[in-house]
Every structure is written in C-alpha cells, then in structure tokens.
C-alpha cells in the first residue's frame, strides 16, 4: 500500500532547498544572537605583559587590593571540605586521613594529567579547588589572572623546617603566594633485566632514546617542556627556555626523528610501567623511580632499577609548589593544610609513599639511603642542594615563545 504521490512529495525530507532555507534563516539570525550573547561579557581575561621570573631575575609578586590574604587567627570550620587538585598518587592517603581526623575536615582530591589542562580548568572559574600543585612555570600567569590567594604567613610557621633558600626563592620572593612541595630531578630510569648496558657509562646517555634497539620499549614524559628539554640537553644546549629559531628547528627535527626511530609512548605513568615490566627504559622524574619500588610485583627485588642524572648537575632540576587558589571556598583550612604538609614528620611520611623528596632540613639527601628512603642502586635519585645552582630550570615562557614550543609539541603528538 503505497502512499499517494502527493503525500510522498510533502513528506520528502531534507531537500536541498529546505536545507538552504534553514541555513539562511540561521545566518540571518546570527547578528541578533550575537547582540544577545555579547551581553555575557567576553572581555579578555588578562592584559599587559607577562612577568617572568628566573634565577637571574627574581621577582616579588604584587599583592592586589581586590585579592587580599585572609585574616589571621581563624580556625578551619569543622565538617567543611577542602579540595585538593594534584597529580594522581601524589599524596599519601594516610597523610590525608590523618589531617581529616585531626582537624575534622573532609578532603576531596581531584586529579589532572598535565598542568596545562589543570590551569585551563581552574581559569574557567567553575571549580572551587582550594589547593593546587603547579610548578613555578605557571606562577606568573596565575598571579596576573588573580587566580592565587596571597598566603598569610601567620598560619604557616613550619616554613622554618625547609631548606633556607626556599623562604626567599627567585620565583616568589618573600614566599607571597607559594611554598615548595617537592624537589625533583629529571633523568633516565631503566631496568637491568631489559637493558643490558649501563646507560650511565655512555658519552651521551640521552642518545639512548634514539637507539633503535630499544624501539617500542621506552617512554618519554607527557609534559611538553620536560620532554622537549631532553632533546636540547642531548645537544648540549643548556638554555631550557630558548627562543632561538635555530634551537627550535633542531628540537623539532630530532623530536620527529624520535617518533620514527623508537616510537616511544608518551605518558606520566612510568612509576607503574617500569616496575611492571611494560617498558625497559624511560625518561623519569627522580621521585617516580623511588616510587616504583612500591609497584614492583611481589617477589621482585628493587635491585633491577637504575636511575641516571648528570653527575655535574647540569640536568633538569625543578620543584613543585603548593598554592592556595583564590577561587577556593575554604582558605583557612587550606592554610592549615599547607602548614601541616610542611611539618617534618608529615613530610617524611608523605615522602615514604610518594617517593618525591621534600626540601626538609630533617631529610638529608646525602643520607637518603642510610635513612632507608631509597635502596643503594637508586642513590642517584637524591636531589642535592647544589643541583639547584648548577642545574637547568624549566621556566615560564613568554606567550609567543610558549606558543612556538606548544606548536612543536602538538606536531609531535599528532604523530608526524
């Protein structure tokens, strides 16, 4: 029983004409829409120039009138919630539980995979995190956009537990906005049962990432600045924040070469992949290699793990921060938490789980092995204070240069 032809014509779905007509209608209504929507306010979020801190140009950040510190002498409200925003597995659950019990505050931990994504979410203003763990390469942007709350030092007497240079670091003089969380180096980690050579003996250990015999068995860190600086260090370029086009071209060429030759995976889960045997070799943070021990399968001895960092200290050395976000709803608890994390015992307990070394006076890097924090084969993972003077730091980049670096990274991630 077919419907009569007239009916079929009237039921004819999207003819080209109707599609065109709809398109025109939509197009004609766009300006009205735009007038409506421009009422939402689409101003630029920040203006002016980005101030960049570096060891040779230390910066004291301004405290803005409309973003003051909290008052002194307050106590965290019982039963309230404190929201942390951090990498996964970057804080000891026991440390968290102890804080919750002591101060009767609930802690909610949200995680991110990389700091670009984290900053984008924070800047959207929709989420009220209290505590965040960036590195100092975001501090200028965050201060300019008023995303950070200045710290009230009265709440944080434990700052005295830290290494002296951190009370007045070049990236935040007078520690207005941040305290350090962990210090770490970035080197190369490997397993002796999958890698028969001693990478430390090579002339240029970084070359191992371009060595075809390890194809498919290695990983690089999924952080644009860290992974790309490794390429620069391989070529003995010690300016990790270079804007020179010659350097960038070299960087691009060798990064693409890396993809072709060894097909590395790009992740931040080395602390699990290396001990479980998924890979034999990776670019690694020092804290991750110590953390790996916890993830070894039962019965596997930690002797097979190794870590290399340049003996002269000229490798990547950085530290993560704890900052209090201005969008957070529980600043008093946030300050209390920061002070709690700087306590010597808490820091030690955290270190034993996370593997990342805190810059505490009570934890002497030279005796990490003796104190039982690391096995002897991983003594190279200790972060010595002198590294901070000799090492290379991943700084914040000016917007144009930042854009160029990110372009190269995007190319790399697109697979070439």
């Amino acid at each position: 029983m077919t419907p009569p032809p007239a009916r079929r014509r009237s039921r004819a779905q999207l003819s080209r004409r109707s599609l065109l007509a709809r398109g025109l209608v939509l197009g004609a209504s766009a300006p009205t829409l735009s007038a409506l929507l421009s009422a939402c306010g689409t101003q630029l979020y920040t203006s002016g120039n980005l101030v960049i801190a570096s060891p040779s140009h230390p910066v004291r950040w301004p405290v803005h009138q409309d973003n003051p510190a909290i008052e002194s002498g307050l106590k965290p409200q019982a039963g309230s919630t404190l929201r942390l925003y951090s990498y996964s597995d970057y804080i000891n659950p026991q440390v968290v539980k102890n804080f919750e019990k002591t101060y009767d505050v609930n802690i909610e931990i949200s995680t991110f995979n990389d700091t670009d994504e984290a900053l984008a979410k924070i800047a959207s203003g929709d989420l009220s995190y209290d505590i965040y763990n960036p590195s100092y390469d975001q501090i200028g942007k965050m201060v300019a956009a008023k995303l950070l709350r200045p710290l009230n030092h009265d709440y944080i007497p434990n700052i005295d537990n830290l290494w002296p240079n951190f009370t007045d670091p070049w990236y935040d003089q007078g520690w207005e906005y941040s305290v350090p969380y962990t210090v770490y180096t970035t080197g190369i980690g490997w397993r002796t049962d999958q890698v028969s050579e001693d990478i430390a003996q090579r002339d240029n250990p970084y070359d191992v990432f371009w060595d075809p015999q390890y194809a498919g068995k290695l990983e690089v860190i999924d952080d644009w600045h860290t992974a790309m600086d490794m390429v620069l260090l391989r070529n003995h370029i010690y300016d990790a924040n270079t804007a020179k086009s010659a350097d960038l071209d070299l960087l691009r060429a060798q990064l693409m070469d890396l993809l072709q030759v060894t097909r590395p995976k790009v992740t931040i889960t080395m602390y699990n992949d290396l001990p479980s045997g998924q890979i034999g070799l990776c670019q690694m943070w020092s804290g991750d290699v110590i953390n790996s021990i916890y993830y070894l399968p039962k019965g596997q001895s930690p002797d097979i793990l190794r870590y290399w960092f340049p003996a002269d200290g000229r490798g990547m050395v950085d530290n993560d921060l704890i900052v209090c976000l201005s969008g957070g709803s529980n600043p008093v608890a946030a300050h209390t938490f920061i002070n709690y994390m700087l306590d010597a015992d808490v820091a030690a307990l955290n270190f034993s789980y996370v593997g990342y070394q805190p810059p505490q006076k009570s934890i002497n890097p030279k005796t990490l092995v003796a104190q039982g924090y690391a096995p002897p084969n991983l003594a190279t993972a200790a972060v010595l204070p002198r590294y901070f003077d000799e090492g290379v730091h991943l700084l914040e980049l000016p917007p144009t240069v930042d854009g160029q670096w990110h372009e190269i990274w995007q190319e790399f991630k697109a697979g070439g």
């Binding site: 109707s18 009422a39 597995d89 949200s110 203003g125 699990n272 039962k298």
Partner: protein
C-alpha cells in the same frame, strides 16, 4: 561436491561455529576482568587467590573504603536516573509531536535528532564544554559538573526515545486514535487513553536503553566533569587504567555491570508484562530487541 556441503538444508555448522566464536571473543575478556576483581593480590594479570578484598576488605583501596571509588559509583547512578527521567518524557513527547506535525521546522528538528544519533560524541562534548566555559553569566545554568553532564547526556540520548517511539508509532498507525475521536473523545484524550498505553513497551524499552547507555557514557561526562566528586566510574577507569590500576577498578566495573544487568532484566520483564496481551509472533527477547 560432497553430500554434506551440497545439501541446501543442512545445519549451518560454519556459521554456527563462527557465531559461537564471536560470542566467546566478545564476552570472555569481560568475564576474565570480573574474575580478576576477586584476586587476592594486586595484580590484574596473575591470579593470586580468591578474596573479596577489593570490594570491601582492603581498608584503604577497596570500593567500600576508598571514597573516590564509591563516590564514582553513586555519581554514575545519579547521572543515570536524572538523565533518564528527563530524556524519556522529552523524547516521547517529541516523537509524538514530530510524527504528526508536518512542516519545515519539525523536518529540521527530525534531521537534527538523527544527526545527534550518529555524530561522534566528542563533537557534542567539546561544543558543550565551550559553552560552559566561555558563556558566563548568572543566567547561565550550566556548569562543569552534574548540570553540564546531565544536559549533555540528555541531548546525546534524546535520539533514542525519539527513534524507538517513532518506529512503534509507524507500526501502530493512526486508526486507533481516529476511532476514539470518532467515538467522541477529545484529541488529547485519545492520545492519553488509547495511544499511550500502546506505546508503553516502547517507552520502557527506550528508558532501559537510555539508562544503560548513560551509566556507561564516557566522553561527555569526562569533558563536562567538575572535580572528582562528579567523575563517574567510566572516567575513573580511564584515569586509573593509564596509571596504576588495582583490581578495585575491576570490582567497580563489575558492580556497574551487575547494576546494568539488573536494569535490563527489570526492563525485559516489564516489557513482557506490558506486551502480554499482544498477538505477535515474536515473543520475549526478540520483541524487546526489535523495539531497539
């Protein structure tokens, strides 16, 4: 050709074998994953003995004790219920309306719904993320978190009830309503008392499908998630699978699986109940499947 091969009415052993192989390939990995959720050790590949450790035993990392895991479970079901409660009425009404209303606007809406049925979810998720993060103002009700997630889920799932109910409408036809109107009922009354009861099986089928689909959704809920309390199980699995997963993850996924099975069984039984008077040659699961 040999007798067996040439016989046109022989049992189709090759096809049967292939189908059996497919079913095994399709479901065995999941069964293995469920099995490992009962592993007594940390490994997800090496069996180390039976234990309920990851469900409630382990004081720090089991689903019962780890707040991030059971929060994810509750959030998954919350999203499922909210999204289904909004999608099904909206979709059914839209199906009824679009079916009977002729004109450019309903044609365009029909195309938009079909488009949303087929488009990659990523497009919708990214578009909504842009809306939520850049269109600001106190009048804007969508935020990262449950409001954004539910809005995205409803939009993405709306096509299911629309398509299912419309195909049912095609089969039913307009004669019952016309008979009712002829006998003196109002248009509205005819719909309510004649058509709706006939649509109940289709409505139920679409509700079940939407719920099952929402609790497994990943892309939309991930892009529109706020902090960790609005991350459902699928996002937790994704985050942890790339990191350092424990069998607690398998346990969490198994719990969601059990819930899905429960909902499907309820839906199937309800469908059988609602179609018990119907004179169709298909019964049971086939009828249920043919709604979809």
């Amino acid at each position: 050709m040999s007798g067996w091969w040439g016989n046109p009415w022989r049992r189709p052993r090759v096809l049967l074998g292939f189908t059996a192989l497919y079913v095994v390939w399709s479901l065995l990995p999941v069964l293995i994953a469920v099995m490992f959720s009962f592993n007594s050790g940390r490994s997800r590949t090496v069996w180390q003995g039976f234990s309920m450790r990851w469900y409630y035993g382990d004081p720090l990392r089991s689903v019962w004790h780890d707040p991030s895991l059971h929060t994810a479970l509750f959030h998954t079901f919350r999203l499922g219920i909210l999204a289904t409660l909004i999608t099904v009425p909206l979709g059914v009404a839209m199906a009824l309306g679009l079916d009977r209303w002729h004109g450019r606007l309903p044609q365009g809406a029909n195309f938009a719904v079909l488009l949303s049925f087929v488009l990659p979810e990523t497009l919708l998720a990214v578009a909504l993320l842009f809306v939520v993060t850049t269109v600001s103002g106190s009048w804007q009700p969508l935020h990262l978190g449950i409001s954004g997630q539910v809005a995205g889920l409803v939009t993405y799932q709306l096509s299911y009830p629309v398509v299912i109910v419309r195909s049912r409408l095609l089969t039913i036809g307009a004669q019952y309503e016309e008979a009712a109107v002829d006998l003196g009922a109002s248009q509205f009354g005819a719909v309510r008392r004649v058509l709706m009861p006939m649509l109940v099986p289709a409505i139920f089928a679409s509700a079940v499908l939407v719920f099952a689909d929402v609790i497994d959704d990943f892309v939309i809920v991930r892009y529109l998630s706020g902090d960790s309390s609005t991350e459902p199980v699928s996002v937790k699995i994704y985050n942890s699978a790339r990191g350092a997963p424990t069998p607690a993850l398998n346990a969490l996924a198994s719990l969601v699986l059990v819930a899905s099975i429960g909902v499907i069984i309820v839906g199937y039984l309800a469908h059988r109940y609602f179609t018990r008077g119907e004179d169709t040659h298909k019964r049971g699961i086939e009828a249920f499947a043919s709604e979809l």
